[in-house]
Every structure is written in structure tokens, then in C-alpha cells.
């Protein structure tokens, strides 16, 4: 059995759904962030897979995108964690269902 595009896409889709479920269901903000990271990496996987199997025939655009996504995700994680820390200092909690001050 050889690996085809479908295999990669299936794994990526599963990974994405997993991440989505975590992001939507975890009450802990840090847990949500981890779910989001999972979703990002699922996308990275599809990018690499298309880059390898797609009509471009090994073009580097997918690789370049992935490198960017990893970088941006790192930056985003830094900011988001800093926010989580800051929110914990002022509210003594990072449970997202408690953070609803904008509601009327």
C-alpha cells in the first residue's frame, strides 16, 4: 500500500475536527489554545500534502506557507498565553464561560 493524498487529507481532517472540538468544548482558556494549535497544524498537514501531491509537482509554496503558519502560530501562542496570565491575575480564573463582561 502506498500513501496517497487522500490518506494525508483524512488524517488532517480528523486532526482538524479534534482541534475544533477541543477549542469549542474546553472551559480552560489554555486548553482552547491547544485545540487551536491542533487545527493550525491540521492545515499545515494539508498544505504540505498538496505541495507534494498536487499539480504543482513539488512546488515550494506549500512549504513556505507552512513555515509562515508555524511562525505566526508561535507568536499567537505567546500573545494568547500572556493574555491568559493577565486575565488570571485580574479575575483569578481562566474559565472562558466566566469571561462574559461584554454581554449586556
Amino acid at each position: 500500500m502506498t500513501l496517497t493524498l487522500e490518506h494525508f487529507l483524512t488524517v488532517a481532517a480528523l486532526l482538524f475536527c479534534l482541534g475544533l472540538v477541543i477549542a469549542l468544548s474546553k472551559r480552560n482558556a489554555v486548553g482552547m489554545l491547544m485545540g487551536i494549535e491542533l487545527m493550525l497544524n491540521a492545515v499545515n498537514l494539508t498544505l504540505i500534502a498538496f505541495s507534494r501531491f498536487g499539480s504543482g509537482g513539488g512546488a515550494v509554496a506549500g512549504h513556505a506557507f507552512t513555515a509562515f503558519v508555524i511562525t505566526v502560530a508561535a507568536a499567537e501562542a505567546a500573545v494568547a498565553l500572556a493574555l491568559a496570565v493577565s486575565v488570571y491575575r485580574s479575575r483569578q480564573t481562566v474559565e472562558v464561560d466566566q469571561l462574559d463582561l461584554l454581554k449586556l
Partner: protein
């Protein structure tokens, strides 16, 4: 056939000199009034010199036309051009406008001295002159219309020059709105000729008219549309009501409006499109009868005015009526000739009245009298202007008015009768003004009101004095014009010159000079003078007695035929304020405001419903987002695109 060979640049420079002065003053020199005045005078002097160059050149070409046309822009089938045209008619107008404007500008140096708006005054004056010069040089109707409206705008600015006086502001508005009613007709005429003839160029319109390419109805409507514009601008009955009120502006402005710029524009327009009148008897008849009505109304109303400037204003209306009447009886050249001579003596009379005002602080003739001895220069020049206006041989007014009467005599005896009776009234009301102002004993003028901060009067009205040289010299120059301008018509030279401006086959053969008509009109003028002398100097008949005997008539005249009341009550207050304006106000309150408020109400109501979706739970938002993405993906997959 040779045409004027003067360079196109010269013609454009005639317009651009005062325009440059206007721009410079408006942008940089408002705070340097003395410099503004000098710059403005220098610019108009340059224009005057160039106009003389153009005149000499056109004389050499027998008044035939030279046009310089350039493409302006194309938009689909619409092709607009921009250009200047020089011919006999334009050359005469250029010289009239620039010479009168120059003298008025010089005179204003004395008259407007110490006015805080001195710089602004010269800026508007320059704009006014620019607009008029552009109007007479334009080679197509669109450009003419643009300058036509600019004339309207600058007259509004100048009539309302002392805008802090409510009466001046109202007069400016009145002038603007009333002339705008006529302009609607001009605009309609432009659209008509554009849709039917496909051109706005003056040459091509002349050609269309002469070749008979337009139907009779189109021609008549076109002629009447043009005439509607002229009725507003040239203060013809029944739109003459703005002109007497325009006296609220500074006197030199009145002189310019009445002599060379504003009101001349309407007569110029009709003269420019004279072939249209020639080709459409209905339009021509209308012009003639409206002209005659204006002659009569103006002359009758001038008889009962007590304000010197208003006498002159109604006299202008009456004289403009003569010009229109002349156009209506085939007297194209005569109308232009009367415009030409009238410019000199009417400017002279207005500047003379300004000089009187400078000494007495009033325009009310009942507070003047006896100024003959203290203001000899003003008196003599005013007398020359009056004699010229009354049509006394051999002054300028005699030649032109006599020619109009002659043309009227040959076309229609009823029109002649109206014109002749009005000529008698002209002599009567002008000499009434002269006797009341300059003869008898001085009644003291209007005392200076120290609390009136708007008054810039300096001097003592109780002891009037002659005005300074800067004001009397323009009077002398204009008096020379009022004496001599008529002689240009000797041997029909003037007529021949301006007739070069219209296609030769559009012209009617003018009747020959008639001694009978000339002697009759001289006798009429002398009779008018004698009547004025009998009533206002010797007091053989008491004027109050006449008023009592003919009380209904006197009341009718004093209330200006109730036209102002009619316009104000019926149109302004009734039709507009109570009718149309209320309708518009209701539309504004319900439809426009309703739409705006309704949009706000809709936003608030929908917000009230939708705010329940705003839970503050970020994960709920995320779930909605994901669900939306899934739905979008399903739609894309299902439609297979």
C-alpha cells in the same frame, strides 16, 4: 471677404485682464485696498486698450466676424467647444463695456473711499466686468450662458454689497431670483436648439435659421426662450421689478449695471440672435409688444418717483424697452446703437446722482434743490446727460431714439404712438428730476446720523460742495460721450458696421432718415421739457393738484401697478410659501425625515431582538462560526462548483 485679423490672444487677454485682477485681489490683496483699486483700474485700462485694437481691426473688416473655436470636451455624441468671436457687434460692446467700466472704476476711487469693503468692492467689480466681456466674446451659446450666469452672480454680490443692510440683502436676492426665472427660458432655448439643430455655435445657429432647416414652431419657441432670458436680464415688463430695487447697491455699481454690463446683456443676446427674430414673426411681434409695454411702464413709473436713483432706474427700464421695441420692428442696428449711446448718458446720470449723494447724503429729491450753484460741474454734466436722454438735437440720444421712432413708424403706428408718448414722458420726468435737484432752494439734505455705523458719509450735508476731481473727471469724459457718440451714425456708418455681424440676407432694409419724424420727436422732447418747467419750476400747475385730480392713476403708479404686491402676495406668499413650500415641507417631514428616522427605528428594533444572540460565551461564537463554515462547505459541494 476679409475678416478681423487681430490675434486670438488679444481677445482672450481682454477677458483675462480683469479676471487676473479679480483673482489677485480676492486671494492676496483684500487687506491692501489701495493697491487693489489701482490693480483693478490697470487691468481694465489694459482691456480697454485691447478692445480699441479689436475695434479698429474690425472697422477695417467692415464688422464681419472672425471666430476662433477650440474643442473643449467630448462625451459621446456631445461635443462642446470653447471659443471667441469678434465682429462689429462684439467690438462695439467691448468698447462700451470697457470704457464705461474704466470710468466707473476711476470714479469709485472717490465714491467708495473709506468704505471698509473697498478691496472686496474692486474684486467683485473686476469679476463683473470679466463676466460681461466673456459674454460678448463667446462664440457659442453654452459659453455665453456660463458668463451670463456669472454676470448674474456678480450683480448679486454687488447689489448686496452692503449686505448688513437688510434692504440690500433683500434687493440682491430679488435681482438674482427674478433674473433666474428668465434664465430658465434661455436654458430651455439652448436645450431646444441642441436637440433640434445639434449645435450651440452662434454661426451654425444663424445658418440653421437662414437655410430654413428648423420648423417655424421650433424657431418661435427658440426665439421666445431667448427672449425670456433677455426679459429677466434686461428688466423687461413683467420681470422689471428687480431693477429699481437694485439701487441698494453702491451708485457706481448701478451705473455699471444700467449702462454697460448687466442689463445690456439681454439686448445683446437678442441682437446676437436677430436672424431668429427675422425668421419668426410671432417671436418678433412678442418682442416688439413687450418692449413697448416696458417703455410705457418704465416711463410712467419714473414720473412719480421721489428718489433720484429710482427715477433713473425706471428710465433705464423704459430705454431698454425702446431697444427691444427696435429689435421687434427690424431695427437691429438701431437697437445696438441706442444701447451704445444710452450706455454713455445713463452712466453719466448715475455717476452724477452719486456725486449729488456725496454732497447731500441722500437720494431723496425732496430734500435737495438749488445744487446748480454749489455743484456746477455735476449740474452741467447731469444736464447734458438729461438732454441726451430726452433726445434733444444734436446730442447722442437724439440720433438713436429718433431712429427707433422711425423704424416703429414704418412697421406699426400703434407702437410708434406708445414710443412717442413715452418720449414725452421721458423729457418730463428727467427735467422734473433736474428741476427738483438743481433748481430752487436747497432743502438741507439728510443730516448725518452719528449712531449709524454703516454710513461712511464725510462732510456736512447742510453745506454741500462739489465732489473731488476723481469723481468729476469721469463725469466730463462721459459727458463728451453723451454729446458725441451719436455722430457715429452719420451716413449710416455705425449701422453698416454692426450689420456686418449678422449674415447679410438676414437683414431688413432700414428706412431712410426722415425729417418729419426727426422734427416731431424733437418737438415732443421740447414739449416734455416745457411741461416739466411749467409744473416743477414755475409751478403754473401744482403737482399735488394733479395728483388729487387723477388720484386712482397716481395711486396705481405710486404702488408700481401693484406688481410687487402681486408677486409677493400671490406668488411668493401664496403660491410658494403657503402652497408649494408647505407641500415640500410636508414631504421633507414625512418622506425624507420618515426614511431617516425609520432606518434608525429599524436598527434599534432589530438590535433589540438580535442582542439575545450576544451571550458573551466565546465558545458559542466559535461553534456558530464552525457551523456556518460547514453549511457553506455543503452548499459549495452540493452545487458542484
Amino acid at each position: 471677404m476679409d475678416v478681423p485679423g487681430v490675434s486670438e490672444a488679444v481677445l482672450w487677454a481682454i477677458i483675462l485682464c480683469p479676471l487676473a485682477a479679480f483673482t489677485a485681489i480676492a486671494l492676496y490683496l483684500r487687506k491692501l485696498p489701495k493697491l487693489a483699486g489701482w490693480l483693478s483700474i490697470a487691468a481694465i485700462t489694459a482691456s480697454f486698450a485691447l478692445a480699441l485694437v479689436a475695434l479698429v481691426d474690425t472697422l477695417g473688416a467692415d464688422g464681419r466676424a472672425a471666430t476662433h473655436t477650440h474643442d473643449w470636451f467630448h462625451a459621446g455624441p456631445l461635443q462642446l467647444s470653447l471659443g471667441v468671436r469678434l465682429d462689429g457687434l462684439t467690438a462695439v460692446m467691448l468698447v462700451v463695456v470697457t470704457s464705461v467700466a474704466l470710468l466707473v472704476q476711476v470714479y469709485s476711487q472717490g465714491y467708495m473711499e473709506r468704505d471698509p469693503g473697498y478691496g472686496r468692492y474692486y474684486a467683485w467689480m473686476s469679476l463683473f466686468i470679466t463676466a460681461m466681456l466673456g459674454l460678448v466674446l463667446a462664440d457659442n451659446l453654452l459659453m455665453l450662458f456660463v458668463f451670463w450666469e456669472l454676470v448674474g452672480l456678480s450683480s448679486y454680490l454687488l447689489i448686496g454689497f452692503w449686505f448688513h443692510k437688510p434692504s440690500a440683502a433683500a434687493a440682491a436676492k430679488k435681482a438674482f431670483i427674478v433674473t433666474r426665472i428668465g434664465d430658465l427660458g434661455l436654458l430651455a432655448a439652448m436645450l431646444l436648439i441642441w436637440t433640434r439643430g445639434g449645435t450651440l455655435a452662434i454661426d451654425e445657429i444663424h445658418e440653421l435659421v437662414l437655410t430654413g432647416a428648423l420648423s417655424g414652431t421650433t424657431l418661435t419657441l427658440f426665439g421666445l426662450g431667448l427672449f425670456a432670458g433677455a426679459v429677466g436680464k434686461s428688466a423687461q415688463f413683467p420681470l422689471h421689478v428687480w431693477l429699481p430695487d437694485a439701487m441698494e447697491g453702491p451708485t457706481p455699481v448701478s451705473a455699471l449695471i444700467h449702462a454697460a454690463t448687466m442689463v445690456a446683456a439681454g439686448v445683446y443676446l437678442m441682437a446676437r440672435f436677430f436672424p431668429v427674430l427675422e425668421a419668426s414673426p410671432d417671436a418678433r411681434e412678442t418682442v416688439a409688444w413687450i418692449g413697448a409695454a416696458t417703455v410705457a411702464v418704465g416711463a410712467a413709473l419714473a414720473l412719480v418717483q421721489t428718489d433720484l436713483k429710482r427715477v433713473l432706474a425706471y428710465s433705464t427700464i423704459s430705454q431698454l424697452g425702446y431697444m427691444m421695441l427696435a429689435l421687434g420692428v427690424f431695427g437691429y442696428a438701431v437697437a445696438v446703437f441706442h444701447l451704445f449711446t444710452h450706455a454713455f448718458f445713463k452712466a453719466l446720470l448715475f455717476l452724477g446722482s452719486g456725486s449729488v449723494n456725496h454732497a447731500t447724503n441722500t437720494f431723496d429729491m425732496r430734500r435737495m434743490g438749488g445744487l446748480r450753484t454749489v455743484m456746477p460741474l455735476t449740474f452741467w454734466t447731469f444736464l447734458i446727460g438729461t438732454l441726451s436722454l430726452a433726445g434733444v438735437f444734436p446730442l447722442a440720444g437724439f440720433w438713436s431714439k429718433d431712429e427707433i421712432l422711425l423704424e416703429a413708424w414704418h412697421q406699426n403706428r400703434a407702437l410708434y404712438a406708445i414710443a412717442a408718448v413715452a418720449a414725452f414722458a421721458t423729457a418730463l420726468y428727467m427735467f422734473r428730476a433736474v428741476f427738483m435737484t438743481f433748481f430752487g432752494t436747497y432743502k438741507g439734505g439728510e443730516p448725518v446720523d452719528p449712531s449709524d455705523e454703516d454710513s461712511h458719509f464725510h462732510g456736512d450735508p447742510a453745506h454741500p460742495h462739489e465732489s473731488g476731481r476723481v469723481m468729476t473727471w469721469p463725469l466730463l469724459a462721459l459727458a463728451a460721450g453723451a454729446v458725441a457718440a451719436g455722430w457715429w451714425a452719420w451716413g449710416r456708418e455705425f449701422q453698416h458696421f454692426v450689420e456686418g455681424a449678422v449674415p447679410a440676407d438676414a437683414l431688413h432694409h432700414a428706412p431712410a432718415f426722415s425729417y418729419g419724424i426727426a422734427i416731431a420727436s424733437s418737438l415732443i422732447a421740447v414739449a416734455g421739457i416745457a411741461a416739466a418747467w411749467a409744473i416743477y419750476q414755475r409751478r403754473l400747475v401744482d403737482s399735488a393738484e394733479i395728483r388729487r385730480t387723477a388720484y386712482p392713476l397716481a395711486l396705481l403708479l405710486e404702488r408700481k401697478f401693484f406688481l410687487d404686491d402681486l408677486y409677493e402676495r400671490a406668488f411668493a406668499a401664496g403660491l410658494f410659501q403657503r402652497g408649494w413650500n408647505r407641500l415640500v415641507a410636508a414631504f421633507d417631514a414625512f418622506a425624507v425625515d420618515g426614511a431617516v428616522n425609520g432606518a434608525g427605528w429599524l436598527g434599534m428594533q432589530s438590535g433589540r431582538v438580535l442582542r439575545h444572540a450576544q451571550t458573551g460565551q466565546v465558545q458559542l461564537y466559535g461553534a456558530a462560526l464552525a457551523a456556518g463554515a460547514v453549511v457553506a462547505a455543503i452548499i459549495v459541494l452540493a452545487t458542484g462548483s
